[in-house]
Symmetry: D2
Subunit: 343 residues, 4 copies
């Protein structure tokens, strides 16, 4: 099978090249990047020297020789490209947000454009395998989830599915490494300014909130609101979501519920102390810790992922493995370089 | 006036020496540290060379020549020392937790010791000047607040005081630099392991929770519960508290409430974008951002401090300035070294 | 006395504002920045709120009301401005490189422009007070040294002056925090890429080399060549220069030579273990460690500074204090926030 | 084939477990650690959950069931264990320094112990495959090189071998991430103190110097002295060696010499800009940049490695692959997670 990466020079594209370098069932047919068109992979990114695709040359335009396309583009170009590729019968895994939300009215408000293809939106499957695996198997268009929604939804799915959340809202505080903001230069991410710094941003209106609420509704049928505050932390990669919700279950029941739901999942680990991002970097795992605050009657569920791994590129490969019928774990077994002790 | 620092070799003690090096009204009479007894300040901490107290020698035991004592000791030794010094008529500013909580029953549960001096506990004033300035002026024992309580209480005080919090709980997620854990060596704070790492800890039972609830009750008379999740972020200094509570006020009303309450405060700044910890490092400021989530009906108040500054040592000096009758801002005008742009 | 900062929004300009906020003898008359013209200091840089110059408004153009001008501009605009201001009888401290090198032929090769004002170049004094203090007192134009030359020249000056360097070359390896590259955005300084990274750059031809060689020649009369390799380290501020040269002196003699030379210097500290950059951040000190390798017959001299402090802005203030006849230490007594133990 | 790791809980031991988790030709028979004896790998290091050896239990003592032993122990215990294992006919790869230097007189001076087994020292092969591959194939005892010697020797080998270094000394300045100092807690590596810090250490007498000089002599027959200054940089992993030596060759000749020497090496890459440590993390590569300073007549060779990779554990696996007759690249194809652009 042949695959292409369109937008291959951003962080998610480069991470896809790294992962696919070890995939035994697919070959990387094309890497597309206007910025680097005509250059060899190894001359732009020297760390790929002496690896499988070192001599691959960035193309300016995509061709139609591949079976599946990873789109690592901004939202609007992706909107169009999904349509073009689908019409040619190609499978598409879209890492942008352009097909993530079923409710098309959310796009103008949160992304600033009209969604012109509601029919395609309807057919798109949200690529969170732990929730939608069966649908992913048959999908033509897979909307690869945002990093915050991946961490948050994996942390609430068992509770949402079993209907154990009391009330109509959850509070999510999340921390993200800066690679989540992409490779485009910004003053606040210039090293001397981001070094040693941390802050909340978009505290009442973040684009990923409707994506979370949309999926929660599709699981539960309920309008559960997400009070979401994202924070920047000064690391390159890594993400934590701390989720608080009211519930009548106690700690043991909650832990049991989560263990049961995820018992066969290859990439979800229920851990016995709050997860540390260093345990996840470079891997496709999502670690989840479950606790209960007796005093306030609230569950505290904390999840962690690599925002470029399970939060983007390795999850995209997991989706590819599913939709192309490979072993879901193929080339996704990397262990974090971490050397963290259990505190 | 003469002052002493007992436990002068930990992070808060060293920061006190740095700040007091520029205080024109007090002289540092004694720095006490068993570990470094007999050594000159500059030989242990070379960065003090060519500064005011470079030749001061660490003493093994404290004498009684000072007017005021800063205690930078573990909780239990501090418990005793406060008593001894008070009996000699000395003013004490205690940076440990040993006199912070009025309810003496909290000590065995949260700190593992019985509080033997309930009478002194009664007389102690909680050293958060923005709330208890008038009492601090006349205090003999000042319990210098914990860093998390400082950030959180400053963020909720106007709302608590005016009774605009609906319901009986608030959700606080906080981020702390690692200096907050002190200078004692621990595996999880060994550089190669803490580098690039972040995680929640003590997610349902942190020692600072009763301290917060105790003060909130003393202001409001109500039992408002704090759902508190602290997180480690990989910086040396800096702290953020993101506070969520239900309220009927809207954004403009909330901002107005906060501006009004803090309008004469020299060290509280109401800021127009979420505060960044780099704006605070080395200063005594607390920056507060106020917002409202229309969708969930919740206020989002975000505060930031330097955990060793307003969260410990510079706040202790602010308390000293108040109790000794100096200008409250004396030697506390440092500006952060930050070069952060408004994003 | 009134002073102006032209180019007040870069790192060195902002650091000058911070330092001058505490200067009792001068008032900051004007801060000039095209980018932020018309905006208040505190609205662009919120960490200046509640400080002395918070309400100062950035001007688009400089006026002639000040006695002394700090130029924090790119090299070519600075070249012209120095001329204009000098003609009006103003004192100028130029933080660019445009007047640093006496040999005007070096400019086209290293900076890409012809130096049009050799007469002004002749009159300019190189603003390294430890070497040129007497000349600085009477200067009209002070070329504030580069950060690498400051660290290197301070480390070699006693040896060069006393003629104890054998042979005709020294080897300098230097490490610099990223703020040394300024505030302009570059891909390699985007946080996710610079995080955890380090590398040498310009390994055989760095702009600061002729500046170093020029000053060494002016002291010794000899053409001593500098083999200079700079490296980026992933911190915001801080610089180390490790200097190796052949000599017949032994360790004790070298240490004695350095102690003697710098015995009255307020900002040079001869330290007994290799200097740590955290001891210098935010200060105007230069720490120097002197050793001798018996096996190879080479001196090893290691210096450290804050590249934005002694390497730029606080050194500029030191020069101002000298040229305007103030106490040289005025408002330059900051102690690093460090809490480093002697290892 | 079965292998054991003795001292499996330090950084090099844990990294070996990670790498060997993907080796198809050997099985990890035993992980030995007194500290964690009786505990499962995944309970001590949760990031190994759901990986191949997650259920392996740390043993207190080693058994004799394996074919090859990796020793990740302090120097003195390793000295003895090599002897014991060799007597039983086992292959040993020793990651300590206890057999690295042929000259046994260096041990008391640099390591503080007498080397009791000069006969074994004689038989030991120094495990730098790029230099000693043929000897490694037949070795029973392989002394795995130190990280600084690996970076330095790889950078000088072609020049030393071809005799193009003029004079009798080279100057090496090296930068190391803190994991190189191991997992034992030290004040200067406590996160709040190491954060943002950098400094030289052991500037005239570092233990790795005789190891370098010993190998250089064994290649060239000459006593070339190494003037070595190591520096700590605030990252977890990564190492750079900047090597300066006099030579009559020009840049093109030097580059050609290095390309030729290393043209068949799978893990050495001659790069066209100074290497960046992020290109190496988690990999077994050594990147080398070669340049020449016309002005001083000196070569500038800069190499970079992951100190825990090519500088320790992955090099140990490379040695194992050679001595056990496997494909030398087996399970060593990891690509760094880097996303660094060519600047």
């Amino acid at each position: 099978m042949k695959v292409s990466i369109v937008g291959a020079s951003g962080y998610t594209g480069v991470e896809l090249i790294r992962i696919l370098s070890f995939h035994e069932k697919v070959s990387l047919n094309q890497i597309v990047s206007r910025q680097f068109a005509g250059k060899k992979l190894r001359s732009v990114f020297p760390h790929f020297s002496k690896s499988r695709y070192e001599d691959l040359i960035f193309d300016e335009e995509f061709d139609l020789d591949s079976d599946l396309y990873f789109l690592c583009l901004p939202h609007e170009p992706s909107l169009e490209l999904v349509k073009q590729l689908t019409e040619k019968g190609k499978k598409v895994i879209d890492l942008s947000a352009s097909y993530r939300i079923k409710n098309k009215n959310a796009y103008p408000e949160y992304y600033g454009f009209e969604h012109k293809y509601p029919d395609l939106l309807e057919k798109t499957v949200y690529g969170l395998p732990e929730i939608f695996r069966e649908k992913i198997k048959k999908a033509d268009i897979i909307a690869n989830p945002g990093c915050y929604p991946t961490a948050t939804l994996t942390a609430v799915y068992p509770a949402v599915k079993e209907g154990v959340i009391s009330g109509d809202k959850i509070v999510v505080n999340a921390l993200s490494g800066i690679s989540g903001a992409g490779r485009a230069l910004k003053q606040q991410f210039h090293y001397p300014e981001a070094f040693g710094n941390s802050y909340a941003y978009n505290p009442v209106k973040h684009r990923h909130t409707p994506e979370m609420e949309d999926v929660i509704k599709s699981i539960s049928g309920k309008n559960i609101k997400v009070r979401f505050t994202p924070h920047i932390i000064p690391v390159s990669r890594g993400m934590i979501a701390t989720v608080i919700f009211e519930t009548d279950l106690k700690k043991d029941q909650l832990v049991e519920l989560y263990r049961l739901e995820y018992r066969y999942e290859p990439f979800v680990r229920i851990v016995s102390r709050p997860p540390q991002i260093k345990d996840l970097i470079g891997s496709n795992f999502c670690d989840i810790y479950v606790d209960f605050d007796e005093k306030t009657g609230q569950a505290v569920v904390i999840s962690a992922i690599d925002n470029l791994g399970k939060g983007a590129s390795s999850q995209a490969v997991q989706n590819m493995n599913i939709v192309l019928g490979f072993n879901e774990e193929e080339c996704l077994k990397d262990i974090s370089l971490s050397s963290i002790l259990f505190p």
